[in-house]
Amino acid sequence: MKSDVVIVGAGSVGLPLAYYLAKRGLKVVVLEKEASWGRGQNRAAIGGIRATHSDRAKIRIAQESLAIVPELETVHGFHVEWKRGGYLFVAYDETRENAFRELLSVQKAAGLGIDWIDGASVAELVPGIRREGLRGGTWSPGDGSASPLLVASAFYKLALDAGVDFRFGEAVTGFDREGRRALRARTALDVYEADRFVNAAGADASRVAELLGETLPVHPDSHEAGVTEPVESFLGPMVVDIIPDAESGNYYYYQIASGQIVFCITPKPQAWGTDCRSTSSFLPLVARRMIELQPRLANVKVRRTWRGLYPMTPDGLPVVGYSRGAENVLIAAGMCGQGFMLGPGLGKILAEETLGGAGEYGFIFEELSPYRAFEGMELLK
């Protein structure tokens, strides 16, 4: 059986892409190694969607996402817990303040609604936040959040209704090639022939690329996250504190539309690898940092924790572009923990590109090329 596009991965990127391709009349097959959709990194995402990045490509893609996700509710009638709560990066030292202020020029140039606010304004947004040393922060009220689970299910349903053929529990085990083209993807159960293939396999993308003889600089590290009981609404924005301490890097939390607080922290040292088992160090660490910042959080009850992967690249930016070894294979991977917020926009843009109409997005493919130099590290990772 032959299709137009075979997508490897029914996750944050693969699901919207499958939908947008099928909506345009393409015959799409999605191969997913997990038992159902969104069970890789999507299920572990905490739901933030912001356009306030530090580079043009991600800003552009995320701006698309910020337009698409609310429409899942207003146009398509899904409930995805969309909330435009904004993002707030807090600064307690000069280094952070200067860095944020420097970024503002890039962000404003990209047309983002973001600005510096003072400590009193921060305290209005985050009631009870520690005022001692608080210099202020950057505030982007247009950013928001949604449930990764519900967004994934919405795109899955849209894709299903648009005729996408999902094959769950099927890991790609190899490709048949002819010269510089991939002809067929193989799984333990079947063979899938297509004109084009997309590697949207998230943390598994390097393995899939290796099946084509390519090396992708995508290596996952893991982060633990948690969710509390729901409480009455008291917190609007996603609060991000990027000041590292002895045991951790940045951490962030927000109150989702249902009233629960979702939180996540970057451990120090970073935990490289694909181990997603919970550890005993997470809760004491994240609890200390959150309560030091906002003491009233001490009384909210933690319900569940989990650990998910950030498919990282050396410079913190995604890898998007066609493979040189197999020219009909599109790579859309290495989302560095932002697949959920980039996926809808990227899916839409890639669908247009696949159909030859994405000239205006040329800069994205340049910036995110799999063959770029991978220098530097994005500040707001």
């Binding site: 689970l149 769950f168 009455e232 919970s278 005993s280 994240v286 309560i291 569940r304 924790t305």
Partner: protein, 702 residues
């Protein structure tokens, strides 16, 4: 106040101090230190709060710290009221909608969790966990035993009845509460054992550490090499409309209220399920002065021990076989339950529906193992074994041997050289047996002037106390199977009429009879209810299965202190005396149905996920529409996303998938993650719970 003041077995603790508090601004009163939920139940409050989703009434469900359905705002902080001790002066309020997070913005003193270290962490201090702990400690392994209750013994501490099994091996004939004490004392006395009571394990982590909520206040990390999961079992929920109303709960929750906290939480109950758990819960209700409208069993036969069932039926409780609950309804709490017979496919036949006025429905239609920590350990690659009900649902007697055997297999996993005592395996096999054959017995009229025991025990179950308590060794088991499953028999001589067998029989199925003049006889009957009758009064005597035999005259009554059992000596015609084994306890009035059945709702409205209030109908539609083959996707409906962590809904999901036309074997299961119960964020960082600005003692701190 709905307090149990008179109980044949239990007596209220002495020196309880009244605690005056306020509930929703009104004066209220309970006892210092008892769970807030029990104080409210004693005040007759069933509806504690309203669910944020739809305003549905919320109240006691698990009574066990697991489900959060009894949440109340206590001094400004939302807490699980079933594990929050009542203190004088507390301000207790309903949660209407979502609870507010109290404003408490002063910086807090924080600290890292204390760490304990051991070789084996035992989760659960019931019969299997305690037996395992003893065995592990004897092998020289260091053990931390964590249990979520203040008193060790698991469900034994709620069991006021005498246990079956072997007297020599597992305390048969002793009441559960007393067995618990013996096992607990033995385990606590051993070196190398650290007991964390009142301290639920809340998470297992891959780095071989467990988070324990010590005394429900302090988060401790316990480092271990292996874990033994003896966390018991919980009642499976059952799908019927109204299954979410306050007043529908498991037998365990009921026993907690009634037998632990001595709260008369119900006036009349209906029991769903005739296994030993349901039968015993009905018996405990009667002992607490609570009426039992009946026991409903979907199978064509009683599922528990026949001696248990006979005992309940004799007390005046009907068992309805081939029947099920169609609906439960009421305004804010259970007021009525409708029962109907089922057809050969176990579907209710609505034309047979009958409605009973009850305020409680006890769900005892099967247990699910609390094996989450075992599965979590397996998923994380932690060496682990299960014991007791967490391994296999069976009697406490079997769990004791199961615990010992599990301890040895865990020791082996840890590289210890151990020899398994094969006799344990054999004994456990017998103790976990389902009942065997039923053998009819025809009583023989005794000779004049001599005592002889009459056995009303006709079904083979693992039990032998009558043989071991007889001082003249004149009772033995008739060797058919060659195990304690065999039925007892009397040698025909040497009975001194000491009544030991009558008092010890856990099934209350032994009487002593002596012939008198003129075709009369005296019979000694065991009785475990308040016995207000005076010598000379007429008693209506019942046979084994509750059929009335006629009257007898009470000659004397003696209370056997060791077994806490009344021994009633009754004079009656010989024909009656040899058949008599019971005295009716409950009037027929309690078991009458309404003149016409009353039910309205559709089966699709039964709740599967209580925490998030998701119905069968919603889930079935979603499974079909989204072609679901992974239970995790039901989280889109919020199934399993609630406070209880899918403990209630997960066991129901196979049934729901089947209803949607999907073979549950094709469905990927729910992923398990810490935590197993909700814990305040501050607890992980060593912050005292509550609002820091309150004076000491009022904020829940020590």
């Amino acid at each position: 106040m709905n307090r149990i003041t008179e109980h044949p077995i239990l007596s209220p603790a002495e020196g309880r101090v009244e605690a005056r508090f306020s509930f929703d601004g009104k004066p209220a009163s309970g006892y210092e230190g008892e769970p807030i939920s029990s104080a409210l139940a004693a005040m007759g409050v069933a509806r504690f709060s309203s669910h944020a989703k739809d305003g549905a009434p919320q109240g006691i469900f698990c009574a066990n710290g697991q489900c959060s359905q009894c949440a109340l705002v206590v001094d400004g902080v939302a807490l699980k009221s079933c594990v929050t001790p009542l203190r004088s002066g507390m301000d207790v309020r309903s949660v209407e909608g979502l609870p507010p997070l109290p404003v408490a913005d002063a910086p807090r003193a924080l600290s890292k969790p204390r760490r304990l270290s051991c070789e084996v962490l035992v989760i659960g201090g019931g019969p299997s966990g305690l037996a395992a702990t003893v065995e592990l400690a004897k092998l020289g392994l260091s053990v931390v035993l964590a249990d979520d209750k203040a008193d060790l013994g698991g469900k034994l501490v709620l069991q006021t009845h005498k246990f079956f099994g072997s007297e020599a091996d597992c305390y048969a004939g002793t009441r559960g509460i007393d067995i618990a004490r013996k096992l607990s004392d033995e385990a606590r006395a051993l070196p190398g054992v650290t007991v964390l009571a009142n301290s639920p394990v809340v998470g297992l982590y891959a780095d071989r550490a467990a988070g324990v909520l010590a005394d429900y206040r302090e988060y401790i990390l316990v480092d271990f090499k292996a874990v033994l999961v003896a966390a018991g079992a919980r009642e499976r929920s059952v799908l019927f409309p109204g299954n979410d109303l306050p007043g529908v709960y498991g037998a365990g929750a009921f026993q907690t209220l009634v037998n632990r906290d001595l709260v008369k939480s119900s006036k009349r109950v209906l029991v769903l399920g005739s296994g030993n758990v349901g039968l015993i819960a009905a018996y405990h209700a009667l002992q607490a002065g609570i009426e039992v409208a009946g026991i409903v069993e979907i199978l064509p036969q009683v599922n528990g021990y026949k001696v248990h069932a006979d005992k309940i039926v004799r007390a005046g409780v009907p068992v309805y076989l081939n029947a099920t609950v169609v609906e439960v309804e009421g305004a804010g709490r259970v007021e009525r339950a409708t029962v109907a017979e089922v057809d050969e496919k176990r579907r209710p036949v609505l034309s047979t529906a009958r409605t009973y006025e009850v305020d409680t429905v006890l769900v005892a239609a099967g247990l699910s193992p609390c094996d989450e920590f075992l599965r979590q350990a397996e998923a994380f690659g932690i060496p682990a074994v299960a014991a007791g009900d967490a391994e296999e649902i069976a009697e406490a007697s079997s769990a004791m041997f199961g615990g010992r055997i599990a301890a040895l297999s865990l020791a082996k996993l840890l590289g210890r050289k151990v020899e398994l005592d094969e006799s344990w395996v054999a004994k456990r096999e017998v103790l976990r047996s389902r009942p065997g054959d039923t053998v009819p017995r025809e009583p023989v009229i005794p000779e004049k002037g001599t005592w002889k025991p009459v056995f009303h025990c006709v079904q083979e179950i693992p039990c032998d106390p009558c043989t071991t308590v007889c001082p003249t060794h004149s009772i033995s088991l008739k060797p058919v199977r060659g195990s304690i499953m065999d039925l007892p028999r009397y040698s025909g001589k040497d009975c001194r009429g000491c009544n030991a067998c009558v008092a010890a029989c856990p099934g209350l199925a032994v009487s002593l009879v002596k012939g008198l003049d003129g075709g009369m006889a005296e019979v000694v009957l065991p009785f475990e209810f308040p016995a207000p009758f005076a010598p000379g009064s007429k008693l209506s005597l019942l046979d084994r299965e509750g059929a009335p035999l006629g009257e007898g005259e009470l000659a004397k009554k003696v209370f056997n202190r060791k077994y806490k059992t009344w021994l009633l000596t009754v004079a009656a015609p010989s024909e009656i005396a040899v058949r008599a084994i019971g005295v009716r306890v409950q009037s027929e009035e309690a078991t009458r149905s309404l003149p016409a059945a009353r039910f309205a709702r559709l089966p699709d409205e039964a709740i599967v996920c209580r925490c998030e209030r998701v119905t069968v109908g919603e889930i079935v539609r979603f499974i079909k529409e989204y072609r679901i083959r992974d239970a995790n996707q039901l989280k889109s409906l919020r199934v399993g996303m609630g406070a209880c962590g899918s403990k209630t809904c997960a066991p129901l999901l196979p049934q729901v998938f089947r209803q949607a036309g999907v073979d549950p074997a094709e469905v990927a299961g729910l992923t398990l993650r810490p935590l197993s119960i909700e814990v305040p964020l501050g607890t992980f960082a060593g912050a005292a719970s509550g609002i820091a600005a309150l004076p000491a003692g009022k904020d829940g701190t020590k």
